[in-house]
């Protein structure tokens, strides 16, 4: 089971994307779990997920987040276009690839 954490400023717009990603996960029967958190709460979650995806509007937090996860898991910024289009499939594909490459 892969746990994917999406983070944005208030956790609102990422929760939109998460909803769509969960649908894809259910449809394709993928072994994954997706959730959204605002930046303020992200710290409490990063220890039990497999990847952190930042909304592009908080992409500037990447450096901080990488320090926080301490090299244990990959941190990536979601592509602006994919984010705007709420392209759940593409975001999931990229997330799986990033986790794969990270090993």
């Amino acid at each position: 089971m892969k746990k994917i954490l999406l983070v944005c400023n208030a956790g609102m717009s990422t929760s939109l994307l998460v909803q769509k990603m969960q649908k894809v996960v259910a449809e394709k029967n993928l072994d994954a779990q997706v959730e959204a958190q605002p930046l303020a709460n992200a710290m409490d979650k990063i220890d039990d997920v497999d990847i952190v995806l930042l909304g592009p509007q908080v992409g500037f937090e990447k450096g901080n987040m990488e320090k926080d996860v301490n090299g244990r898991i990959p941190v990536d910024v979601i592509d602006m276009r994919d984010y705007g289009m709420m392209n759940a499939q593409k975001v999931l594909d990229k997330a799986f690839k990033t986790m794969e490459d990270f090993k």
Binding site: L39, G55, Q57, F60, N64, M80, G84
Partner: protein
């Protein structure tokens, strides 16, 4: 796109530099903790808004004195537990957030020390209003007053919380101050002892400062911060010009793909919240409303459909748009857009790095906020007195924020109509550019 003129290149380099600096500011750990702390404590203020609304708008609809006065005790007590302790509550929360962000392993201890440090700084004797005669005040001792604990003490809470936590974390990392009880002592016991000495040092230092201020200066840090930091900042940043400037810089940042909270959440929002908190307290007490500019005015009239009032862009696109892909995005973004969540529009339409739409995105909130400000100051609409969540849909938000003034709905409608026509020409340009880009991409592919 290939041939950029030298001027365009220069402009782009400037914007990149600006975005980088702003991101660095947003990344700064104390400012980030400030934003986190406000995000955590916001529900308390929103609850206060609901209580004030029920107390002062709903109850009077079907109650008369003396029942009304008795019923309103309920809302007044809720105001005490929320707005009147705004400073008291923010200190431990910001201490907690800072130590979390610093990955300090004992954040709850930092929260406790922040709270204690704030109280240490409170004056020994303070002015209080007499219960028997609201016009009369007296110097009292042995009490903490809402004046110091509430909104006017908010910056004191923030600054003292940050200082105490920073100091505490630094001292805690000094190895020599840690107590080792030897083998066989459970680590938890040792941990509890290790908090002891840093606790003592931090509070002792705060106590010394408080004592000097009290004895030599006949003052206290809460008053000093309120007078020398909070009030000047509030006067400048929440003036119409200051607010518009900071808000526009935040929105400019958003058009570069960085969340406007980086600027707004640090320089403006805390002060605008302080203003609405003051207004809510005044409204609950049937007093004159002190601040025209506040967070509810900004979100109700400058954030219609999200930053940049993009609801107007969506309407313009749906009615006048001819390019199907953007229309499809607008349809997808419609429901979140109603609740003022517009990242799909910002990144999907897109607005980021879309020169055509950057101008109305920044300009429209300026128009909306200015109109609301002038309409309020000449009495066309009631001032905003209730903190509404920024996710409240347009028309509902104006009505609730002004404590139930229908004219606020009319004003919002006016702004929406202006906005649709302001976005319209820029939307047309953007459509043409996007269509041409797509065609080029398809040719290449």
């Amino acid at each position: 796109m290939a041939e950029e003129t030298a001027k365009e290149k220069k402009g782009r380099a400037f914007l990149d530099k600006f975005a980088m600096v702003a991101a660095k500011v947003g990344n700064q750990i104390h400012l980030r903790s400030l934003r986190d702390a406000f995000a955590t404590i916001m529900p308390l203020y929103i609850l206060a808004g609901i209580a004030v609304l029920i107390n002062n708008v709903i109850f009077p609809l079907f109650m008369k004195d003396p029942i009304l006065t008795n019923a309103q005790v309920w809302g007044n007590l809720l105001v005490n537990g929320t707005l009147n302790i705004a400073g008291l509550a923010i200190a431990p929360v910001i201490g907690y957030c800072l130590s979390k962000n610093k990955r300090f392993d004992n954040p709850i201890a930092a929260a406790v020390i922040s709270l204690a440090a704030l109280i240490v700084m409170m004056p020994l004797n303070t002015e209080a209003t007499l219960a028997s005669n609201a016009d009369k005040t007296a110097m009292v001792t042995g009490v903490l007053t809402f004046k110091n604990l509430g909104t006017s003490g908010m910056f004191a809470g923030i600054i003292i919380g940050l200082l105490a936590t920073e100091f505490f974390i630094r001292i805690s990392s000094v190895k020599k101050l840690q107590i080792h009880l030897g083998e066989g002592v459970p680590p938890a016991v040792e941990k509890s002892f290790n908090v002891l000495i840093p606790n003592l040092i931090v509070l002792a230092c705060f106590g010394i400062i408080a004592a000097i201020l009290s004895v030599a200066g006949n003052t206290d840090l809460i008053t000093l911060i309120s007078k020398m930091v909070q009030e000047p900042l509030r006067n400048v940043n929440t003036s119409l010009a200051g607010c518009l400037l900071i808000y526009s810089v935040g929105n400019l940042l958003f058009t570069l793909g960085i969340h406007q909270a980086v600027i707004y959440g640090v320089l403006l929002e805390p002060l605008l919240i302080a203003n609405i908190n003051d207004n809510m307290v005044a409204f609950a007490a049937h007093q004159a409303i002190p601040h025209i500019m506040n967070v509810s005015l900004v979100t109700s009239f400058g954030l219609i459909g999200g930053s940049g009032c993009t609801l107007c862009l969506m309407i313009a696109t749906l009615i006048f748009g001819k390019y199907k892909p953007t229309k499809d995005i607008v349809k997808m973004a419609a429901v979140p857009g109603v609740f003022n969540i517009n990242e799909p529009i910002i990144f999907g339409y897109p607005i980021v790095f879309n020169m055509a739409l950057m101008l109305p995105f920044i300009l429209l909130p300026v128009i909306g906020i200015s109109l609301a400000y002038f309409a309020t100051s000449i009495g066309l609409v009631n001032p905003c007195v209730v903190l509404t969540p920024w996710t409240t849909p347009v028309f509902v938000s104006g009505f609730l924020a002004t404590g139930g003034d229908w004219r606020a709905i009319v004003l919002q409608l006016v702004i929406v109509i202006i906005g649709v026509f302001l976005y319209l020409p820029f939307m047309k340009v953007s459509e043409k550019v996007t269509a041409r880009q797509m065609a080029l991409e398809n040719e290449e592919a």
